[in-house]
Symmetry: C2
Subunit: 494 residues, 2 copies
């Protein structure tokens, strides 16, 4: 008789492009998000949590990479034939909410949202298909005072999580100025020029990568990169691109002179004039509140890749240097950005609803805090109560209960207690400060052994040897003094 076919065992793997977060990876992010939420709350923003799932219809097609409008989301069809998808950002759900609850929400509506978003993209190193976003937006505020407020809040937020003033800069620009410049360059905002304007936008968004020459090549005849690959050019005239580059490089020594230069560039073009005026208002409001150009500055080089922005755009950059994985020293770069998008809610209601907001790249900002040493110091594990005598588990559990009631993180060893070495290895893996040991002999005498597990680490750090070298690494104390002694040891190192 044939053997019954065995079902193969399932593979224990994270799906491709996803990852798991352990211990401090979770709690450090949470701490940072809590600090951010506190600032948002102080500014009057309210929490909103939408579900992970949206109808495909409501989500729309606003992914950053407009070359592939139909891709990028995880979507599936419901039994009743509705297509739904996982949200790819926090802005699309907000636009849906602002339309759906427009009768009930306060107007203007300031809201923040924190949580994972999903992108169905090719995963790469450090590039995952689920990641956190942390957004704050104001819906229904036509005035650029709303944009200025978001920029000020972004500045406060960066400092609240631990980025030092001087280590970041928030740069502000205005799509209307760019529109004015493009119109002045003979590329007005009409259907005929929509395609080439899109190319110009995405190309100058990468100005810091390509440089003036690269942008000139890409927007005129085309560009051959270092590997020899040729990218077809957009076919503009040199004079047109010069005007555009003049705009991108328009930042001067002060906001006032930058604004004058931009006014020159847009000339009489109405949109451009409006845009420069809005930037002037933003600069004045921010300077009036004490946010000077050391924190927030007008800079026409900021473009933002997204097509949906209609007014001010802003970007926070960390200016300190880090060494990347290839050993190159470079500026840390962008960690947050946003802008005004007056048409997203209109998709649903037909009525324009002015909105502006920003998104913080949570993983990027966490990486920055790690790079500057603000987070990532070793977390202290729990006290481990070892098990010398399986029959006295009740005694050991009473010890952890006492420690916990005193607010000291503690565990009893719950594995097989036979091999005591394994218990100490466990305490080591748990980064325990202290292990408690009580065999039958100690129990009879009413004492416990308290093993100091930090000392070894301290002695290994040569600088502190002198301070610690005469310290014992184990203490015998009466059972009744266990909690006090444990606290004393832990506190002596902090």
């Amino acid at each position: 008789m044939a053997k019954p076919k065995k079902t193969p065992r399932p593979k224990a793997v994270t799906p491709k492009g996803f990852r798991d977060y352990f211990g401090t990876e979770v709690t450090e992010r949470k701490t940072m998000l809590d600090q951010i939420a506190e600032v948002y709350h102080l500014y009057g923003f309210e929490a909103l949590e939408t579900s992970a799932v949206e109808t495909v219809e409501a989500l729309g097609k606003f992914l950053p990479d407009v070359d592939r409008p139909n891709e990028g989301v995880f979507a599936w069809q419901e039994d009743d034939s509705d297509w739904v998808a996982l949200r790819y950002d926090m802005t699309a759900p907000l636009a849906r909410v602002a339309a759906q609850y427009r009768q009930d929400l306060p107007a203007p509506y300031r809201r923040f949202a924190m949580g994972p978003v999903w992108r169905n993209e090719k995963p790469g190193p450090g590039r995952f298909r689920q990641f956190y976003q942390c957004d704050a937006d104001t819906v229904g505020a036509p005035s650029v005072a709303a944009d200025a407020e978001i920029c000020a809040m972004l500045s406060d937020t960066l400092e609240a999580v631990g980025i030092t003033r001087g280590d970041y800069i928030i740069r502000v620009n205005n799509r209307k100025v760019l529109d004015g410049v493009l119109e002045a360059a003979g590329l007005p905002d009409t259907d005929e020029f929509a395609h080439v304007r899109g190319i110009v936008l995405r190309t100058i968004d990468k100005h810091d990568k390509f440089g003036d020459q690269g942008v000139m090549a890409l927007l005129t005849e085309g560009r051959k990169d270092e590997s020899g690959d040729f990218t077809k050019g957009a076919g503009l005239e040199t004079a047109q691109v010069e005007l555009i580059l003049g705009f991108v490089n328009g930042r001067q020594d002060s906001n006032a002179t930058t604004l004058d230069r931009l006014a020159e560039l847009v000339g009489e073009v109405q949109t451009g004039v409006e845009g420069v005026d809005e930037l002037r208002q933003i600069a004045e409001l921010l300077e009036g509140q004490g946010y000077g150009p050391d924190r927030i500055v007008i800079d026409p080089a900021v473009v933002r890749g997204l097509g949906y922005y209609t007014g001010p755009v802003y970007e926070a950059e960390l200016t300190f240097e880090v060494t990347d994985e290839k050993g190159r020293v470079r500026e840390f770069g962008s960690v947050a950005g946003g802008g005004r998008y007056d048409d997203l809610v209109k998709r649903f209601t037909g009525q324009a609803v002015p909105a502006t907001g920003m998104s913080i790249g949570v993983d990027r900002l966490l990486a920055a805090l790690r790079a500057t040493g603000r987070i990532g110091s070793k977390a202290q594990g729990p006290v481990v109560v070892t098990v010398m005598d399986r029959d006295r588990m009740g005694d050991y559990m009473a010890m952890v209960t006492e420690l916990r009631q005193a607010g000291i993180r503690a565990e009893v060893y719950l594995g097989n207690p036979k091999n005591f070495g394994n218990q100490l290895k466990y305490a080591d893996k748990r980064e325990s400060p202290v292990a408690i040991i009580q065999g039958g002999d100690e129990a009879e005498r009413g004492v416990v052994q308290i093993k100091d597990l930090i000392l070894g680490t301290k002695l290994a750090e040569s600088a502190s040897v002198e301070e610690w070298k005469d310290r014992p690494n184990q203490y015998e104390v009466p059972r009744g003094e266990m909690v006090a002694k444990v606290r004393e040891i832990i506190e002596s190192y902090t």
Copy 2:
């Protein structure tokens, strides 16, 4: 020429079975989860956050309702032909993680996980397709000390979030005892009896709903319910069901007498004897740590619907009464539960890994806290600085900046300022304690008007009229004293 066809506007709707959470709905849940996490951390549990997406293969088919093993998840096929799905609980991802990282994780591994899970089920009133779970599990601990620890932690957790001692009870049972009873009743754990044992399990899990008579009917000849619908019976003998019901109703006045009664029922059946012995150990460990039967009690009536439990099972019930939506007074009921499942990791590795853990129904527990008035008091909104003069937006923004720097939540009105009544309506909707008003006249005189918006509410609460009736509801103060006066008003009501 034909008119170009208009694309219809997308509908702004939450997908069927999903919902949005606003403001305090988000923050109250967060506060509760933070309190829970603090207890878990104290017990030595580490955070784990897996992604929302798992391979269908890794998830397995462990949904509670085993009658429909292939349904219940949101799944879709990846381009590269892997099927993936949204997690339906936190246990399946834990089993995957425990197998995948078994070389690196501490053993035993205590972990907690909090976050949304998704069920592709027919939505109903109060029944959503995305909801929060909050789990804690110990993987790799064979001893029932691990189960006792989870029960103690659950007790501490309920009290930490605000459930008063005496308002809850954690009931503990053991599947092995049930197995022993079933074997004694002539239904041994073999393939032949697997189906009928499943029916017995699910039927007695609903004992509190059907009562003894209902269970007897359902397990023997069948049962006709109030509406006249007939449910086919399982075809057991009356004597068999009597033995089972004797078990379900086996709880006595004390843990000791309950355990004696269970020992009688299982007789010489090995599994049953083992199960009773484990329960006896759990009871002793818990009582030794001070968790008496007023908090945690042995109760054979607890069954838990899930098929995968292999040892102790436990359930936390809130015993206070609430009035349900149909006006009936009833016990609040179950808010958390769990048990030992020694086979889930084995699916991946072939090696049995003992594990035990619990899951808290986050929405149920929040509802309980609201029902007891522990949360849900009106949150105070931000101070609203109104805009009397559009050109002095800088002055108004300076006011909110000052307030925020003093730690007072504040906003400037960012809507169209033309209609002042709308600004006060806005402040009302925002539940603002105070509105700040400064027209041109006040600005010239260097003063602001501070409007007390709490007073009206206080006066409406008749009991406090005497206390508040002579208070003014508006103050004029020098601009420099604005922050101090606002703080004084807010603090006078708290």
